[in-house]
Amino acid sequence: MKVKTLSKLEKILAAGHLAVTSECGPPRGSDPEVITKKAEMIKDHVDAINITDNQTSVTRMCSLAACIRLKLMGLEPVLQMVTRDRNRIALQSDILGAASYDIHNILCLSGDHQSFGDCAQGQNVHDLDSMQLIQAVRHMRDEGKFLGGGDIERPPNMFVGAAANPFADPFEIRVPRLAKKIAAGVEFIQTQCIYNMDKFELWLKMAGDRGLLEKVYILAGVTPFKTAGMAKYMKNRVPGMEVPDELIKRMADTPKEKQPEEGIKICIEQIQRLKEVEGVHGFHVMAIEWEEMVPEIVEKSGLYPRPSVD
């Protein structure tokens, strides 16, 4: 695929490398060092760092400010933006703000429902949905126009991404849904955490059969288990997550003190397997509040050193 933006992530993918991204959750406070320290831990082992946007609807430092912190460190941020909290004025405005700092990647999301977070009594916005946000960013970038029609002086130059959850229901529209996001203009996908390898591979095969894999870069999402309890929690409590029983058993059968090690081992095995699968263009390593393990996962998966591009 032809490079269309100044995004380093896009250049790496276009050059045919397996990309590696990871994410940092901003703090529940204003200490900038929380972000910079997390970024320091992983910066040499990833190509780009996602900053989550009030994930699980818990109020945190804003994604945009945290992305600017990364940018000031010379790193490549992926601005996650949910449609839950902003109407089309605020979305476009924040996109321009990000563009003014030459933030070149955006991930368009609808966001978890606010009832999961610390402001369950708040309103949600959902003026646009995630697909319409993809369309909006592409419109701003490619046409140089606002949604309202006016010209944008120095339009955003952003590589446009979205999430995909191959495990949400109904399964039969998971591939049509990917096709729909591609039609909306998405250029890269970061998937939900993958534990059910067979189902993920089936999804990719079905996407391949429809010729979708040549139209979008797919980064497979992986998250290491820290404990057996976490594996069970992911299975039972996180919406749209599928964790096979054999993985839960493997974690539970491991002595408690060895569980983190086993979780990392599983994660590396998953990456090793998926590296060989057609249509996988890279990995999105989400080590939730466990960023220090990202370098080890990346190294042991044979994804280090990271390539450099102009």
């Binding site: 449609t83 839950r84 089309r88 609808s110 966001g111 978890d112 429902h113 009832s115 999961f116 949600n124 959902h126 003026d127 646009l128 949905d129 995630s130 697909m131 319409q132 369309q135 909006a136 949604l147 999430a163 995909a164 959850n165 949400a168 229901d169 109904p170 039969e172 529209i173 049509p176 096709a179 729909k180 039609a183 909306a184 939900q192 919406p239 749209g240």
Partner: protein
């Protein structure tokens, strides 16, 4: 219909505790069907209030009346002659009726006796569920007759979101995922291919966002 639910009686008492002549006014339309504000509920509330004031050793006159509708001048006029007999009215109509009363009878306080909840259906006796948010620009033709604006917790127009699990919404396992219903219905209509048509950005100016709305129909105006 407009679905309403009873207000806790303590809340109603708090508003009227200092009044001596009170009219409990029901409505014979939607709130009767959803058993929150019809003649029967007027009677129940009036009895409960009489009991309360009796226990307080306070003499309070509580009258009952139920109008055909509280959202039409015609029916609200029926009480004009008696309005000055009351210190307050507790209206068991929806918020529309309460307001129309208040607009009409400027000098008498009108208190809501129900919480107005949504536009919905009677699924079974005692169970009402939402179907419409009156966005002013119906898209049901494009979504298999199932409304994502009122039935999806994120009103996602191109859903489902990643939280759809086994046909249920991420916010509660008893709430159907609207997009699962849409997909099922498109399948039943043999129109699943329509799923891939992107629904464009919605014009919300006909929704609440556009400010108080009105419908003007010159063809039926006299």
């Amino acid at each position: 219909m407009i679905v309403a639910d009873k207000k806790p009686i303590e809340e109603i008492i708090e508003e009227i505790k200092d009044d001596e002549k009170i009219l409990i006014l029901g409505c014979n339309e939607c709130v009767t069907v959803c058993e929150a504000g019809g003649k029967k509920e007027v009677g129940i509330l009036a009895s409960a209030l009489r009991m309360y004031f009796l226990n307080q050793r306070k003499e309070v006159k509580i009258d009952e009346k139920t109008l055909e509708r509280q959202c039409d001048h015609e029916y609200l006029e029926e009480i004009r002659d008696v309005m000055d007999q009351y210190d307050a009215v507790v209206s068991l109509a929806c918020g529309v009726g309460v307001q129309f009363m208040a607009e009409k009878y400027q000098s008498t306080p009108v208190y809501p006796g129900v919480n107005t909840c949504f536009l919905g259906v009677t699924e079974e006796r005692g169970l009402w569920t939402e179907r419409c948010q009156a966005c002013g620009q119906c898209i049901l033709a494009r979504t298999g007759g199932i409304c994502p604006v009122s039935r999806c917790a994120k009103r996602v127009l191109n859903g489902p979101c990643g939280g759809s699990t086994k046909g249920k919404c991420e916010i509660h396992n008893e709430i159907d995922c609207a997009w699962q219903l849409i997909v099922d219905r498109l399948k039943a209509l043999d129109r699943l291919d329509d799923y891939e048509n992107l629904i464009p950005l919605k014009d919300w100016s006909s929704d609440r966002a556009g400010g108080p709305r009105k419908v003007v129909r010159e063809d039926v105006q006299q």
